[in-house]
Amino acid sequence: MARVAVTVPASAKRGEVIEIKTLAEHAMENGFRRTQTGELIPRDIITQFSCSYNGVEVFRAELHPAVAANPLITFTTVATESGTLEFKWTGDNGYVATHSAKIAVA
């Protein structure tokens, strides 16, 4: 189950800098921890996050084992035109989560 929460302003003025907040539910198991019997717990993390605005990539992040669980990624972009923001998280063991949000630009 790949749950995410994204906050995007519903509307903005053209040229305005908008803040986008994204949260993904993920344990971010770093691959260095061991069980009580000494076996290594395999790494299981989100490795990449990207956001595209009407098909154009505006933000990308690579995530590493030091990132905490349930990573919160906040970034800004310029509101250029009305349309859709597409968010995608990918990671180990076939983890994929997507989300899209509409924005009206006047």
Binding site: R3, A5, T7, K21, T22, L23, E25, A27, M28, A68, A69, N70, L72, T74
Partner: protein, 249 residues
């Protein structure tokens, strides 16, 4: 030699500054940095959100759901978490135990284990409905006995380090312990998302942390001693606003 008890009393008075005056109480929130505060303030991006989602699903799910008796939690559970732990049928219970009692007696289901995702989710969801409301425990005769027992436990030195809760949280709050501020230990936001845990956790989990810290043997989850301590802490924080589910570092 006759002076000894008097001297001892004087020394004790100097060591234990006593309870924090009501007006000087500060939530753990006020000891946090701006980034951690922002996480708690914006519910849309607080990691506790996922537990609240699960809690809502559990509340409404199943044949004999919580909702089938209690209806909409946003109405029926408003203020409930401000009154726990409380005496129910002659026994002191915290919110987790109350939820589990309801599961066993009414829903004929097995109780959720302590710190299970389900129990934390339901407790957080019920607690969320009281966010912003003042803690409103009733200190009647039946409850006062447990408050006193909890206070006694709070002030008693324990563990190999021989430290009482009060020595840090009444007498030395605001100072630093290994670089982190010592808060006043008001349980205003449980269950809360602790960055150190990378997860939601209960007040009992937090109390066990402190007990292990002073190298005492922690009470088991749900032990009467634990619930008395929870009650005393909630009573000590009476009138303060509930922040459930809070975020702490």
């Amino acid at each position: 030699m006759r002076l000894a008890p008097l001297l001892l009393a004087a020394v004790c008075a100097a060591v234990y500054a006593g309870e924090i005056p009501l007006a000087e109480r500060r939530s753990g929130y006020e000891f946090m940095g701006p980034q951690t505060r922002a996480m708690q303030d914006d519910e849309a991006t607080s990691p506790a959100l996922f537990w609240l989602m699960d809690g809502e699903t559990l509340w409404n799910g199943g044949r004999a759901s919580c909702a089938s008796c209690h209806g909409d939690a946003r109405e029926s559970m408003k203020g409930v978490a401000t009154r726990y732990p409380r005496v129910v049928g002659g026994k002191l219970v915290n919110l987790e135990q109350r939820i589990n009692a309801c599961r066993v007696e009414r829903q004929k289901a097995v109780p959720y284990p302590y710190e299970s995702k389900e129990l934390l989710a339901l407790t957080a969801y019920v607690g969320r409905q009281s966010r912003g409301l003042p803690i409103a425990l009733e200190a009647d005769a039946a409850t006062q006995r447990y408050i006193d027992a909890g206070r006694e436990r709070f002030e008693r030195p324990q563990g190999q380090l021989n430290l009482a809760c009060a020595q840090c949280h009444d007498d030395n709050w605001g100072k630093s312990l290994a670089g982190t501020p010592v808060p006043q230990a008001h349980p205003t936001g449980y269950p809360l998302y602790r960055l150190e845990w990378q997860s939601l956790g209960s007040l009992e989990r937090r109390l066990r942390n402190c007990m292990i810290g002073v190298r005492a043997e922690p009470y088991a989850y749900g032990a009467p001693e634990m619930v008395e301590l929870e009650l005393y802490l909630m009573w000590r924080a009476r009138g303060m606003k509930l922040e459930t589910p809070a975020v702490r570092p």
